[in-house]
């Protein structure tokens, strides 16, 4: 016990401490950036209609809150496959299909990752959510309220109003890039199909 306490208190050389701390403090954000840039570069692109609203974040500045007509609220009747045995939060897989108008629509929702998908279909993974059964049957009741970590768009201070002004006119669309793991990354914000903000890789 005492020996362990002494071992845990052993001081390391300041140069080694510098190297270790730098590795974590610089390495971690760098890894996050590379991870996200990879989704932007290699992900499959889909386009969704959106409705923006405008609040503020203390540490990251102004942002526009985005709601997606197609995927933020999904009808429970689209649910396929088995429900989890326990009542716990689960991440859901959405199968999206791009229609004639170029906008993606939800075809199916499931807990298990769908194995075979038709060409033109993309898989998107939600943040954990809770499913409520309808009665005792193996179906999902009502609307599913889903989040994907793409509900905010950060803009330079004071510019949020510009996008917000178009919110009730159904003219704003968002292009997403989606990785093989179903993670989504905002690539462009468009008004009337023209890019308002285009995301650089870095």
């Amino acid at each position: 016990m005492k020996a362990l306490g002494q071992l845990l208190r052993r001081e390391i050389h300041p140069f080694l401490a510098f190297a270790l701390a730098t590795l974590v403090l610089v390495g971690f954000p760098a890894w996050m950036i590379l991870d996200r840039a990879a989704i932007l570069r290699d992900g499959t692109e889909i386009v969704l209609k959106t409705a923006p609203v405008d609040p503020r974040d203390l540490m990251r500045g102004d942002y526009v809150r985005l709601r997606y007509e197609e995927i933020s609220n999904v009808d429970g009747s689209l649910f396929e496959g088995d429900l989890p045995g326990h009542d716990r939060p689960v991440k859901l897989w959405l199968t999206l299909h791009t229609g004639e108008d170029g906008l993606a629509a939800v075809k199916a929702v499931s807990v298990e990752k769908p194995v075979n998908r038709a060409p033109g279909e993309t898989l998107l993974r939600s943040k954990p959510t809770r499913l409520s059964r309808s009665g005792s049957s193996e179906t999902v009741a009502g609307q599913l309220s889903l989040r994907f970590g793409i509900e905010r768009y950060y803009v330079p201070e004071g510019e949020g109003l510009e996008i917000e002004a178009t919110r009730n006119q159904e003219r704003t669309t968002v292009a997403l890039r989606i990785s093989d793991k179903g993670e989504a990354q905002i690539a462009r914000i468009m008004i009337d199909g023209k890019a308002l903000y285009e995301e650089p890789l870095y």
Partner: protein
């Protein structure tokens, strides 16, 4: 605080003729020379570090387009490296307070860096992940540099993580059912905060670790079981108090008898019992009285066992006792006889306690003279 206490005591000794007034002044001067100037400069250095760090965070939040994004990332990395190199050279020159200030600045820049990545790639709904990443950075700094300030930061950030990931310890959570990954994660972070507190010899970080452990337990209990977490708090408190105060002390024991462990035990036991009482649906007068008697008995018991040795425990037990008395008066206001009888009984208990305390304190004094 300490200086005021010292001044008062020295004045008292001088008045009693135990000490020359010149000697008293000399003692105070010696105290001032060794404490004041040193801590003032270190406090100023830390404040400056916090201000610089806040400026970096504000710079990120402004999302200022005049500086290109890759340049902003490079600036943050540069600040982190400058902060860490500054700390390294300060440690090499034994200027520990400057090192601490540098590390605080570095950690604020690191937080700004993760915020910047979130802003660049428009991440949302990741508050818990953000707090956890920041806490991990603070832990890395604290563990490598044995830094107390970084350990305290890590403790605070880890608590923030715990509250966001658990939806306020499960109290505001909309779902129930075990979240094993979350529990294990919280316990691992708690253990890491504990190690960094131990390494850096920071008592404050140690307290944060203890608070985190208690909060994690409450979370697991609230979400994973149908039981009321107050029972758990009372049980942990009783156990901790018994271990800290009733187990015979050995020189090699990892904690002092009637020390911090007992104090935590006393606070949790009495606080937990109070919460059980506030939540309970006992409405009959005898039932309420019986429970009140239990709480009063527990506070008296705590006082008798450890109150003489630990003034924190003594004050908390007095506090719990008075709260309980006020509660009883409130509960029994309808039946005056009941409360009068109870107050009379309470008075008897207090008198007995005062007598017991007098005996105890006299015995301590005797023991003190013998040794």
């Amino acid at each position: 605080m300490l200086r005021r206490y010292l001044r008062r005591e020295i004045d008292q000794w001088v008045a009693n003729g135990l000490l020359d007034s010149a000697q008293g002044e000399a003692l105070l001067e010696d105290h001032d020379r060794r404490h004041t100037g040193y801590s003032l400069s270190s406090v100023l250095a830390s404040l400056a570090a916090v201000l610089f760090g806040a400026a970096v965070i504000a710079l990120v939040a402004a999302n200022w387009e005049a500086i290109a994004r890759p340049l902003r990332v490079a600036m943050i990395f540069l600040f982190i490296i400058v902060g860490l190199s500054g700390a390294t050279f300060a440690v090499l020159r034994n200027a520990h307070w400057i090192a601490e200030a540098m590390l605080v600045f570095t950690l604020l820049c690191f937080g700004a860096g993760i915020a910047l990545v979130g802003q660049m790639y428009h991440l949302s709904g990741d508050e818990a992940a953000f707090m956890l990443s920041w806490a991990i950075g603070a832990l890395a700094v604290s563990l490598s540099f044995s830094s107390p300030m970084a350990a305290i930061s890590a403790g605070l950030l880890a608590l923030g993580y715990l509250f966001t990931v658990s939806d306020g310890l499960g109290i505001f959570s909309s779902w129930h059912g075990p979240d094993l990954v979350g529990y294990v994660g919280a316990l691992v972070v708690t253990a890491a905060v504990g190690v960094s507190a131990w390494r850096s010899r920071s008592a404050l970080a140690g307290h944060l670790c203890a608070i985190m452990l208690i909060c994690t337990m409450v979370w697991i209990f609230e979400e994973g079981t149908d039981l009321n977490p107050s029972y758990l708090l009372a049980a942990i408190g009783a156990l901790a108090f018994a271990t800290g105060s009733l187990v015979p002390s050995r020189p090699s024991a990892p904690f002092a008898r009637h020390g911090t462990l007992s104090a935590y035990g006393a606070v949790l036991l009495l606080g937990g019992l109070g919460m059980v009482q506030a939540d309970s649906d006992i409405t009959s007068l005898p039932g309420v009285m019986a429970f009140a008697a239990l709480v009063l008995g527990a506070s008296v018991g705590v006082l008798v066992v450890a109150g003489g040795e630990n003034h924190l425990i003594r004050r908390f037990a007095y506090f719990a006792f008075s709260c309980e008395t006020i509660y009883i008066v409130g509960e029994t206001l309808g039946s005056l006889l009941g409360s009068a009888g109870f107050l009379f009984f309470g008075g008897l208990v207090l008198a007995a306690m005062a007598y017991a305390m007098m005996r105890l304190e006299r015995r301590f004094k005797k023991k003190g003279m013998q040794t």
